[in-house]
Symmetry: C2
Subunit: 129 residues, 2 copies
DNA sequence: GGGGACGTGCTAAAAAAACAGCATCTACTG
DNA sequence: CAGTAGATGCTGTTTTTTTAGCACGTCCCC
């Protein structure tokens, strides 16, 4: 397997990739603004260059500055991150994972979203039949 | 905030913590056996010592050997990991997260589990009312 | 009761990561 | 048109991580 995500990244690299994924597209300044205990500007740019060398991000020119984004599309990265989480913390049991997730942000769950989730499950039942 | 999990760990440290969480309790040998490209035995023990110094794991004597476990209980670590995942990859939207999760291991979803999930959602609806 | 298997602690070295500084280029502003 | 603000590329240094080695202890079994 190709181990698409995170496993091999260093601490800062991971922090940066998280930000890049979160923002979708980010300049060095954007990244620095969100890094905990941000290092110098130079340092951030250096790390972005390294990440680009390693093939984790790529940049395009946007006016005067570079905008970076991840080379692995967010869907794949999500997928991979979820797999890992499931394996590490939930022994691959979806049930527990759902429970924790439901518990994670209960206030944020609107009625509509709950309905949507119910639909998803209903559909999964149909397919599995 | 105390930043309970992972964010500040180095690459190897993170790999090791993942294993410790996965196993619940692990000897140096256990850890080494599961590390990708495992280093020497000594190296693993050294890292475990470092992790213990930093307060991430603690050991107890088990016959001749040390058994390590995480100091932060698994529930809290899960919670924290889920929060992070949600924030980083799903913009805190549960809907997307559920969808990805449902998609992640479709074959493993038994009918019973699906029913259980449906119950959870039903219950959440009741509570939210 | 000698030897091997398996554990530990400690220490030092090698490798990788993280950082900062400097020279330069460009665009805008007053 | 200067001058300033904000970029970049590159390079070297410092710090942290990661690793291995050695000395010692204990248990077991032949």
């Amino acid at each position: 397997m190709l181990e698409t995500t995170h496993g091999e990244l260093s601490r800062r690299e991971r922090q940066i990739m998280d930000i890049v994924y979160q923002l979708g597209s980010a300049s060095a300044a954007d990244v620095r603004a969100r890094l905990p205990q941000p290092p110098s500007y130079s340092a951030v740019r250096a790390m972005l260059r390294v990440l680009e060398d390693k093939g984790h991000v790529e940049h395009r020119q946007d006016g005067p500055r570079y905008m970076y984004e991840a080379t692995v599309p967010v869907e794949a990265a999500r997928r991979s991150a979820v797999d890992r989480l499931l394996r590490t913390f939930f022994d691959n049991s979806l049930g527990e994972a759902f429970a924790t997730l439901l518990d994670a942000a209960p206030s944020k769950l609107s009625r509509e979203e709950l309905d949507r989730l119910a639909d998803m499950i209903e559909q999964a039942k149909q397919e599995g039949r």
